[in-house]
Each structure stands twice: as structure tokens, then as C-alpha cells.
């Protein structure tokens, strides 16, 4: 029986040892003849990299893609990524980073310098703001294939009613800056007798103000709560609230979506309209499926202030098991050929299945993504004419508007803490507008809330 006991212990020991010991074998690289081989593991919250990975294998058949998909709900993706990169075990070769947390990882010691991509980025005329988000200590640590400049989508029929025209150039003049926007919003309220709100809530404007702060949130361990742009945000939000220019409904709520198709009713059961939505490039894909009868009744303009919202960045962890193949993959993606094919819908599921017949139907890249390369955008913009998005905007080429907005966006002030600061400040503004707090109390509430997520030593004074 003792032998039995020892045997069981030995089995358990072997299992534990096998579980704990890492695989030290080489998992891939570049052969002497220059061919690539091995597994390329990609951790992502979006499907795009898988489609590109499959296309990559057409040129490099000895590379196998291991695609690890994790949802972003409740911060699941970045939490998992933090654990993996800090533990240094099961590290993927490529990781995708969202705008909400790209700086958190770029500022960490976990990402490899991929500055060798800068010449390619320059040739592709990658929008500077997407590069700025990936730069740290003079190194490029993350690079984006997308650009997500924000624009103002508005309803053409409502513009005709309140301004006598739906011409984007003219409407842009009505919304050229915040003062003009307030004036135009008041005009909409007066003519519509309060039936049409210019925006859903102050939250629509939050990205505009945050993107145009004069300083980063943290400077020399000081929380910059007294930036004049933040004071302006509070002023403008107060005017919108007190004058009934906003619907007071939350982003992503049922009413917010209902406003897109004219089915919104207020708490008294009265029909109400929303004139405009502040959304970025990908916002058109939120509007389109919710538009209903308003399909084709939309247009887009740069709006009062340049801003951005979202986007995704590629990065290579320093502990990536197959860094050479990972680098080769990014060099492959950031070429004019691949990005042009991407922009024009070449990577359809049908095309990718020619390479990998077992590929699931969800993988494929439709035309219409606004990519980070100004050069590719310029060359492919004409292809957007006649697409669904073109007709959705009443015959306006969306890429022309996005290309107009993109060069004005700046992410120089973006820091790892932005996602915490922005959420805390937006909540403080809401409390101020609801008259639950005075302006001073709201600012103190913001500071208290913000400090929870900041490292020790950062003070508001």
C-alpha cells in the first residue's frame, strides 16, 4: 500500500511539474533561407488581425496563426492582458490595444520597440496622432491601422427645417466652434418649440473637450483639474442643460438609439428628435443599423472641435515567444499593398477561405474602414462612392469628411490615466448639471474619484 501511496504522489508530482514548467523549445523564427516558420499567437478583442493573419499565411505557409479572442466587457481584455504580460507566461506574439488603454501599456515596460516600422509609417503617411499614442521615450511601441477622428453626424431633413439647407459646408459654419454651436442649438430649440434637441446629452461633448485640453491630466505629479478647457466644458454643459438644448439621455441607452430613427418619445410620451450625434469614423456603423427610415437622411461635418474616439493599435510584447515572425507580420500589414486591399474590401471571407477553408464566417474585412494611412485614404477614397455608407450620408463620401477631420486631431496629451480621469470628470459634470453638487463640490468630487485610480504622490495642488 505504501507503494500505491508513493505511486500516486509521483503521478501528482509529474502533473504539477509538467504544469509549472514552461516550454523552452523554440517556437518559430526565420530560417536560413529566409522563410518564416512557427506559431504566431495574436491576442485581440476584434476580428481584424485574424483576417490579416490568414492572408499572411498565404505568403508564409509555415506560419500558423493562433488567434486568442477576449471580449472587452467590464475591462476583461485589458485585465487578462495585464496578468499575462506581468506574469510573463503564455505571452502572445501580437497584442491589440484599444484607445482606452493603449497608453497604459505603451508607458509600461512590457512592449517591444517597433521603431523599425517608422520609415514604413512615414511612407504610408500614417496620421501623426495615431503614432503619438504609440510613442514613449522616443520609441514606437504600438502602431494603429485605423484612425478614428470624431465628426458630427446630423440629420439632413432637420437641417433643412431649421437652417434652410442641408449642405455640409453651410452647416459646418453653423457649428464651426462652441459659441456658434450654442447659438445654432438655441435656434433649433426655438424653431422646433423644444421638440428637437441638438445633442443627446453633455456626454456627447465630453470627448471634444477632453481632446482639446491645454495640458495632460498629470503634469509633474499634479492633477491638472484647473485646465481652462475643463471650465469651458462645465460652462457649455450648463448652458445646454439650462436652455433645454440636450435631451438628458445617456449614450448607448435605448432612447439614444431611438433618436437615430425618430422613434424617441420623452417621459411625457411626446415625440422628440435629436439633431446630431458626435461619433467617430466607426460611429457610422452604429448609426446605419439603427437609422430605420432615416437612412440616407444623414450627413457628416468636422464639427466645432477636433477629437477622436477609439481605435486599435498593434504591439509586440517584449516576452513574445516568436518576435521575428511578429515583426515580419507587422511589416507585412503596414505596406501600401495590404492597406489598400484592406480599405477596398479585398479581405472578404470568401477570399480568405481560399487560403484557409476552415475559417469561420465572422472573419473578413469589409470595405469602408477608415485606415490610419493618409496616403491610402487619399488613393482609395473614390472607391467609397456608391457604397452603403455613401448613400447613408445622402451622397456624401464619408472618407472625405474623416480625412478633413483627422489632421486636426492631437493625442499629444494622452496619458495612461485618461480613461480614469475622463470617466471621473464626466460623472462630476453630470452631478453638477443635476444640481446635486455645486461647481466647487463637483470639482472636489472629481478629484476624490480620480485619486482612487492614480499612483500615490499625485496631488491636486
Amino acid at each position: 500500500m505504501k507503494k500505491w501511496f508513493l505511486f500516486c504522489l509521483a503521478i501528482v508530482g509529474v502533473i504539477v511539474f509538467a504544469a509549472c514548467s514552461g516550454n523552452a523549445e523554440e517556437v518559430g523564427g526565420i530560417r536560413d533561407d529566409g522563410t518564416l516558420w512557427g506559431e504566431l499567437s495574436i491576442m485581440s478583442f476584434m476580428n481584424d488581425p485574424m483576417a490579416l493573419g490568414v492572408y499572411f499565411t498565404e505568403y508564409h505557409p509555415d506560419v500558423e496563426i493562433n488567434f486568442i479572442m477576449t471580449g472587452m466587457e467590464g475591462g476583461a481584455y485589458q485585465t487578462a492582458l495585464q496578468q499575462i504580460l506581468s506574469a510573463g507566461a503564455n505571452v502572445p506574439d501580437i497584442v491589440m490595444l484599444d484607445a482606452g488603454f493603449v497608453r497604459q501599456f505603451v508607458e509600461s515596460p512590457f512592449l517591444m520597440d517597433i521603431s523599425h516600422l517608422l520609415p514604413a509609417a512615414n511612407a504610408l503617411e500614417i496620421y501623426q496622432f495615431t503614432l503619438d499614442a504609440g510613442m514613449e521615450a522616443g520609441q514606437l511601441r504600438a502602431i494603429s491601422h485605423q484612425a478614428a477622428p470624431g465628426v458630427m453626424y446630423y440629420r439632413r431633413s432637420l437641417a433643412q427645417r431649421y437652417f434652410g439647407t442641408d449642405d455640409p459646408a453651410v452647416i459646418q459654419n453653423y457649428f464651426r466652434d462652441m459659441d456658434a454651436m450654442i447659438e445654432s442649438a438655441q435656434r433649433i430649440r426655438e424653431i422646433s418649440n423644444g421638440e428637437t434637441f441638438t445633442i443627446s446629452s453633455h456626454i456627447e461633448l465630453s470627448n471634444l473637450f477632453f481632446a482639446n485640453r491645454s495640458t495632460p491630466w498629470i503634469v509633474n505629479n499634479r492633477l491638472m483639474h484647473d485646465d481652462p478647457v475643463l471650465a469651458q466644458y462645465l460652462d457649455v454643459a450648463r448652458v445646454f442643460r439650462d436652455s433645454g438644448l440636450e435631451a438628458e439621455i445617456g449614450t448607448w441607452s435605448g432612447e439614444w438609439h431611438a433618436g437615430m430613427n425618430d422613434t424617441m418619445v420623452d417621459a411625457h410620451g411626446n415625440p422628440r428628435q435629436i439633431f446630431s450625434y458626435f461619433l467617430p469614423t466607426w460611429g457610422i456603423f452604429i448609426l446605419m443599423p439603427n437609422a430605420g427610415d432615416t437612412d440616407g437622411d444623414w450627413a457628416a461635418i468636422p464639427g466645432p472641435l477636433p477629437y477622436h474616439w477609439g481605435g486599435a493599435w498593434f504591439a509586440i510584447p517584449v516576452d513574445a515567444p516568436n518576435p521575428e515572425v511578429a515583426k515580419a507580420f507587422l511589416e507585412f500589414v503596414f505596406t501600401e499593398d495590404v492597406m489598400t486591399k484592406w480599405a477596398t474590401g479585398y479581405f472578404s471571407n470568401e477570399r480568405l477561405r481560399q487560403i484557409d477553408p476552415s475559417l469561420a464566417e465572422v472573419f473578413g474585412l469589409a470595405a469602408g474602414d477608415f485606415l490610419s494611412s493618409a496616403r491610402v485614404v487619399r488613393n482609395t477614397s473614390a472607391a467609397m462612392v456608391g457604397t452603403d455608407t455613401y448613400y447613408f450620408l445622402g451622397g456624401q463620401n464619408p472618407h472625405d469628411v474623416f480625412a478633413l477631420a483627422a489632421p486636426n486631431v492631437s493625442l499629444e496629451n494622452l496619458q495612461a490615466s485618461d480613461f480614469i480621469m475622463n470617466a471621473a470628470f464626466t460623472e462630476a459634470v453630470t452631478q453638477y448639471l443635476e444640481d446635486n453638487l455645486t461647481r466647487e463640490q463637483a470639482m472636489q468630487s472629481f478629484i476624490d474619484s480620480a485619486l482612487i485610480g492614480l499612483p500615490a504622490g499625485i496631488t491636486p495642488n
Binding site: M1, K2, W4, F5, C8, L9, V12, G74, G75, Q78, T79, Q82, Q83, S86, Q104, F105, E107, S108, P109, F110, A247, E248, I249, G250, S253, G254, E255, M264, V265, D266, A267, H268, G269, R272, A416, S417, I420, A423, A424, E427, T430, Q431, E434, N436, L437, S445, D448, S449, L451, I452, G453, L454, P455, A456
Partner: protein, 306 residues
């Protein structure tokens, strides 16, 4: 050693088989319970940050001192207790009354099985679904506001989830709504163990229904009450999902529904991923739960002696 003694020793050795059988449990317990608890305690004494890329240093009780000096942490303790007391009080009250009605043979209620199932139903819903449901109902132009305006309760809509008082009431209502069915079922199980002879004797002596409830039912289900109280308390102190999902994930408005677990999550998901600090919140929560559970056990035991 004689052959007989050897045989006897060999016979004793058979007991090792028992260790083999409990080995899987011990391994799982060590790996998934004991080690995480011990590691959490260790982390709470370090300044470990996930995003720093370096190992944390031993900092003694600095994390606990920092917690003590953080107003938001003190608020989170108040919130946790407040939300639990406000939610649990009606929950246990409803459960006791319903269970008494369901088990009382003199009332001769019909269809109690259906009601038990209906009351239990909310407990089967995922917290994410429940939070999304209430968040949708309680928007500015949502069905609740439309209803209370239509029946003339208020003139204008209420910003339920942007007002601290309403947000707290919503969380406590959800807690009650989700859990009173479950508590009722447990109470029913407890009350059915009471011998009907006791009630029959009491009735012969002329005892009223309330008197029987206070003098017979309640004292005899004390162990069940203790079980419900302790499990509900531990669950309540660990409250996270509903308050986290109902608003912006930061326990707002004004941190009014920020529980200790949400505070811990905010420390964990901070810019640097302060897991040392987050672990210290966890340790405080651990001691708080343990002490309260021990006090409850003690109180009930004292009364048993009486």
C-alpha cells in the same frame, strides 16, 4: 520484531489509503483556496503593481495606512453596510412572512408551489441581465418615468441613476427582489422541520397565530436564521456585480453605490494596476467578514444557552 507484530504494523499501514483519497481535495484546496488567501495576505504587505514590470517591495502595513487615509475607502465601507442592511432587512422580513404562510396548515393556501417558483425566478437571472434591465427601465425617458408621470405621481422625470439616494434605493431593491425568493425557500425548509404537534398543542392552549410565530416558529428556526444571516452577510459584504454594472462601473453617482469590492476593483484597474493595495482591501474585507460572522455565531450561541 515478530512476524505477528510485522503483520499488525502492515495492517495499520492500510490507513494510508485514506490519504490517497483525500489527496485530490487537499491539492485543489491548497492550490485554489489556501495559496490564493496566503498570497493575497502577502500581496497586501507589498507595493506590487502589475504595470511596473518589477517585483513589489515589502512595505509592511503601508497599504492599510493609505486605505485608512483615503476618504473613498471609508465611504465604500459605509456603502457596503448601508446597501446590505437596507436590502437584507426587507428580504428577511418578506421571507419569514411568506415562509410562515406557505407552511402554515391552518391557512390552507393553494398554489404555493407556483408562488415559490415565481419568487425564486429573479434569482436565476444573471446579474448582468438584471443590471441592464433596471438601467433600461430607469432612464430619463424610460418606462418607469413614463409610468409615474402618466399616473400623476410626479410632474417631471427623475434621474434615478444620477441621484445618490435613488441609485442606492435601486441597488437595495434589486438585492431584495433577487434574493427574497431564495431566502423564502430556505425558511420554508427550516419551518417544515418543526413538528406540527407543537402548533396543535399551542392552538389547543388558545395561542394566536402571531404568538405561535414568535414563540414556536422563530426560536426553532434559529439555526436556519443564523445560516441565512451569515451567508447573506458574506454575500452582501462582497457585493460587486449589480452596483458595478448599474451605472458607470465606478460606483457612481458620487460614489454612492461604490462598495468595498468596487473600490478594490478600482485599485486593481488603476493606472499602475495596484494589486498590493487592492489586496489590502481584500484583507480588510476578510477580517471584517470573519469578525462579524464570529460575533453572530457568538450571539446566537449565547441565546441558545439562555
Amino acid at each position: 520484531m515478530t512476524r505477528a507484530a510485522k503483520k499488525k504494523k502492515s495492517g495499520i499501514n492500510k490507513d494510508y489509503m485514506g490519504y490517497v483519497f483525500i489527496l485530490p481535495f487537499v491539492i485543489v484546496f491548497i492550490a485554489f483556496v489556501l495559496y490564493p488567501i496566503a498570497y493575497t495576505f502577502w500581496l497586501s504587505l507589498t507595493d506590487t503593481q502589475l504595470m511596473s514590470g518589477v517585483s513589489g517591495r515589502f512595505v509592511g502595513l503601508d497599504n492599510f495606512q493609505a486605505l485608512y487615509n483615503t476618504p473613498a475607502f471609508r465611504t465604500s465601507i459605509t456603502n457596503t453596510w448601508l446597501l446590505w442592511v437596507l436590502g437584507f432587512t426587507p428580504q428577511i422580513g418578506f421571507a419569514l412572512v411568506l415562509a410562515y404562510m406557505f407552511t402554515n396548515s391552518t391557512l390552507k393556501l393553494r398554489g404555493t408551489g407556483i408562488f415559490k417558483a415565481l419568487y425564486y425566478l429573479p434569482n436565476l437571472l444573471m446579474p448582468a441581465t438584471v443590471a441592464a434591465l433596471f438601467a433600461t427601465y430607469l432612464t430619463r425617458f424610460g418606462p418607469v418615468n413614463q409610468a409615474i408621470i402618466a399616473i400623476g405621481l410626479v410632474d417631471d422625470s427623475i434621474a434615478f441613476l444620477d441621484t445618490p439616494l435613488w441609485a442606492r434605493l435601486t441597488v437595495t431593491f434589486i438585492g431584495w427582489w433577487m434574493w427574497f425568493g431564495q431566502t423564502t425557500i430556505i425558511m420554508v425548509a427550516g419551518m417544515t422541520t418543526i413538528s406540527p404537534a407543537l402548533y396543535e398543542s399551542a392552538m389547543l392552549d388558545g395561542a394566536s397565530q402571531p404568538k405561535m410565530f414568535w414563540r414556536i416558529t422563530l426560536p426553532l428556526i434559529k439555526p436556519i436564521l443564523l445560516f441565512v444571516l451569515v451567508t447573506a452577510l458574506i454575500g452582501g459584504l462582497q457585493s460587486f456585480d449589480i452596483p458595478f454594472l448599474l451605472t458607470n462601473g465606478r460606483g457612481d453617482p458620487q460614489g454612492s453605490i461604490m462598495t468595498m469590492n468596487i473600490f478594490m476593483y478600482l485599485r486593481r484597474s488603476s493606472v499602475m494596476g495596484d494589486i498590493g493595495s487592492a489586496a489590502s482591501v481584500s484583507v480588510v474585507l476578510f477580517f471584517m467578514s470573519s469578525i462579524v460572522a464570529l460575533v453572530l455565531f457568538g450571539l446566537f450561541r449565547e441565546k441558545d444557552k439562555d
